[in-house]
Symmetry: D2
Subunit: 356 residues, 4 copies
């Protein structure tokens, strides 16, 4: 079950309808899970900013590097041009190139793109080599194309799915998680949705309660540090009319949400935030007869509620990934336990996170 089903609340802002990235109108998610034999525990998650031809109708976007020990492909073009022209793909570290090739194939094949000779594929990853035979590179282009094709709006699968199949977070089974916030009308009424692929360490806190410490999994300093490495990919979507500069500022705030779960962005962590605006009025046509484009943008002064929404949704998405993940056995019979539910709920009750 998800966090809120246990009566746990993160932050002060209300969630969107599904409490998922797909609460942002137009956003679609598709996932392919590779859970085969004893050694393969990996997969692909695809996030589509809209259902149309992304190359022909780019979306405003930004990338913020929380900690760059990772292989995110495509970041420099997004940062330079302020837009995104492909699905966002998440997978494992050694499958980034394969996913890029798939995104190129996908883009070249879309009707209208017959003459396209340049594609910027945005592909992120975390390292699932603890549970998955990552050196075997089991993700194929076909898997990636399938994830793109399966993408749909509505509920998003969480836990051991897609790119989260083999990830580990705070020493427990991590995975895919999502959450959203919807600002009240007085603050603009905008929605912020977040999807994460969690594979990092630190000292777990749930809604502020020191769960990691009390579970004694992290009580020995030595162990804390050994477990700290890993990565977190964070995708932030909004329907607010925000330009690339302010999208980058939103992306930067997502790291504060990660910090609130106890993450420390350790040396070995590839912590990247990709943010985009799905607002239909901000799409950038690939080609245009016009020299200029007229856009209606949110003023800087209105950004703070979106920052708060980003922080809250990121924190909750990470926690959802833990609550929805399940104990798994993978490569070399390595077993990673899910967050121990009973004990965790007890701790949360003790700390009054769950009201008695």
């Amino acid at each position: 079950k998800r966090l809120r089903e246990y009566g746990i609340k993160i932050g002060v802002l209300p969630t969107g309808k599904l409490n998922a990235i797909t609460d942002v109108a137009g956003v679609q998610v598709g996932q392919v899970t590779l859970n085969k034999g004893t050694e393969v525990r990996t997969g692909v998650s695809a996030i589509l900013p809209h259902a149309g031809n992304l190359f022909q109708e780019k979306v405003l976007a930004a990338v913020y590097v929380g900690n760059g020990f990772g292989k995110l492909a495509g970041s420099s073009q997004v940062q330079e041009l302020g837009n995104l022209e492909s699905p966002i793909i998440l997978t494992n570290t050694l499958s980034v190139a394969t996913a890029m090739n798939a995104v190129i194939t996908h883009t070249l094949q879309q009707p209208g793109n017959e003459k396209v000779q340049s594609v910027n594929a945005l592909v992120g990853e975390t390292n699932d080599g603890g549970l998955n035979d990552i050196r075997g590179r089991h993700v194929t282009e076909k898997h990636v194309l399938e994830a793109i094709q399966k993408a749909k709006d509505g509920e998003v699968e969480e836990g051991n799915v897609g790119a989260g199949t083999g990830t580990i977070c705070f020493g427990f089974k991590g995975g895919i998680g999502t959450s959203s916030r919807k600002l009240p009308p007085s603050l603009g009424g905008y929605t912020v949705g977040v999807l994460v692929q969690t594979n990092f360490g630190g000292v777990l806190q749930i809604a502020g309660a020191p769960v990691g410490e009390e579970l004694e999994r992290f009580s020995f300093r030595q162990q804390i540090m050994e477990k700290a490495d890993g990565s977190c990919m964070i995708v932030v979507a909004t329907d607010a009319p925000v330009d690339a500069r302010n999208l980058e500022r939103m992306a930067k705030r997502a790291m504060l949400g990660l910090g609130k779960t106890g993450g420390i962005a350790s040396n070995g962590s590839g912590d990247y935030v990709i943010s985009f605006s799905a607002h239909p009025g901000l799409r950038v046509p690939y080609e245009s007869r016009e020299r200029t484009q007229t856009v209606t943008l949110l003023r800087n002064d209105e950004m703070s509620p979106l920052f708060m929404a980003t922080i809250e949704a990121t924190e909750e998405a990470i926690l959802n990934s833990l609550f929805k993940a399940e104990t798994i056995v993978g490569k070399d019979k390595n077993k990673v336990e899910a967050l121990p539910l009973e004990k965790t709920l007890d701790i949360l009750k003790k700390h009054h996170v769950i009201k008695p």
Copy 2:
């Protein structure tokens, strides 16, 4: 009293002896408080990386911009050269220039600097215009020079002192706060010390407990946002032998500590982190007969414990600034209450932050 005196603990790492930035050997702090008449509530805090001639013996340093709505002077040279050649001064927004002039005066006058023609003064600020007649620009060069001269090691005054005299944090009286962490020998035994000037908003959490929400000061969203602006200056010192690149990475982590107190780095916030290594072996001579310098530097792989220490010390320094601050009346009879101690402790007990 400080946080720990109430039995509140932040994080998992032990503090240094004084739990202050001055636990880092060589670091000195001097503060001048301007609390005059009904309208002047401001001051100056000076942090000296070492007691010698900083221009002649620069320290490796970095600056990270959490949110750049602020007037930090001197940042680009630190970022380019990776070193710092002056005391770090904190004051109010409209007194940055005066403080720069004082630092220039100080540097030009130091023995050995008779021919110096260029000084990079690093001066940060937050805006105390709610309690202080900031437009009156009451800080003079003399005040700044006095703060530098008073700088000493040992305990650091916190709360309504120096540059924290008139600041407001989470709707309560903020100010100066400090904290430190000392890594166990197995992790290198290094010390990280943090000093903050707190003047920002969000939804206050203390050791994870939702104090802001429960005090109902922040229960109305409208109010949350109105109060969110402001700034936080964060100074991070370490004795670890860390170069500028890794000092910047440490600085970046300080923002996670800010996030854990409930800060959101709002649009109007000038959130800057200045970090430096006080390790004597890393000092950069202004002039040298040698073309090269031999240094012993920490490997990237060893940084994670320092990241964790930075996050913890920043969180605790911010909270110390609140616990040590006192109710004050300032400009236009504006009154800002200190954190209500009784109620806060009750909340912390309810949430098991303070063990019953």
Copy 3:
């Protein structure tokens, strides 16, 4: 005389009417020259993006750091918010703080700013300590305010004036220089204007001709390097409707123009580019009842001609500063010669830069 009066042409694009930054509608320049006694050779140059209240009607702006060994104040706020709220002031290295104070005074005093408590002053500098008693800090707030008040459109004084009074460039007398480009209607018809304060080294090239080498001033490598330090402040204005992201890209190109004159952005150089759009439709109101602002912005695809215009105008502005500067004697009887006109023209003829 200016470069073009000798028949020297830079680049392929036509200049604006005045071949000056003031070709960009609304831009004003005011300069105060301090040429007093034997030791004072310094001054102030003020560039106003428009003649109104800049704090109430900010302009979109960016800052690019070519090499950060300098003291530019105010850069981080411009980079964060993408706008500029004050006149741009250029002066000497040790007078930046005084100029900031003057800009604060100016802003606080402007009608409509009675309640303003925060001002981001953008003040750049180069070091004129070779000719000027810089340690004497002879620039006063009054001088800066006078430069702001004197600002006007029309022709711009060049050479040994304002902030260029005591600067040295390529071993010759440098100073203030300006130039502009006006795109043909087919490329949008926009104007780009540049103003520079030149105080840097390298191996001078004029329209590609190796003037520095042939004058043998730079023939000894040792000497080349000794002379390489210094700085260049570059201000780029345009009437094109360009947002902060693309303004930063334009700013970045100005460094290519500096490179074409033979500059190398040496270690000790503070090379900063400030760019802004003076387009009236892009002004950002300090306060607004609206949550959003509608703007018409140039597409990325249209930026290349503006990049080329920026490069050309920067190159020519630097050369104008040399051609208009005059031999000067300053501090300690130091004499710096102007570019030797006869010899230079001979070289340019030999290299067919000036058609025979």
Copy 4:
């Protein structure tokens, strides 16, 4: 023939022995040219910082983004950690992913890397779609592995080879080019070597002479802009003991060299500079029993000659790529002429670049 064989000299510093990137001790280059049938004009160039196991002995490195309209993979990890763990591969835009996969294969297979689960492949590209059937993605992993295996020191092939097989520069045939500078002993005696893949536009200048204009290829503004797009990959190697921060500063200067050839870093250009130090004393072991590493690093003050060397070698490498490239017919019978030698030499004589 190369530039210098015509008596053309760039800059004031002497070249290394081969005037090639391989003048930096240890650096190796391998290239595979795909010139097949009528439609395939592409290839791979591999640059190895040293001949050993790069993953086990990483080199200090940096990446500077001149203009980010490109697909360089691996940049964020280099920027974060300051080191490089793989060969540098250059190829065409749509083959980056394939090259990444090859680098991963190469690294996983190297003796000693049996347990490696994470590889950061640094792969750059330019778009050769004008002459090459780029959508056909004819580069295979095998080609990339072959380029790595063929890598050797000594002379470097230039022009229509490797990743430069199908590129176009200033409207003429571009390709691979290289050059080097060796500082005199008084400036440290260090070598800087540059290799470029040229595929960009602007207004060609050769040693300052306006060749592009005089050839009238660029006389119509409209045409200038149409031809401006494209990209330039620049690899800068040095044996100077320079850390990642100063390597980034060197990388930044390479763009000034590009500017001096008439490049404008147009909107559609992917202009990236990768720099590394091949100094054996700075290698970073993948694993170490030591917490620290002792290194002898060049002081900031000594960087300017290296900046100048980088600028000069970049300018000359670009020009070498043009002089060594040959007329080619490719995809759709598109023909791209080499730089017209006779006319060019006449222009250079007229402008006294070639002494009569």
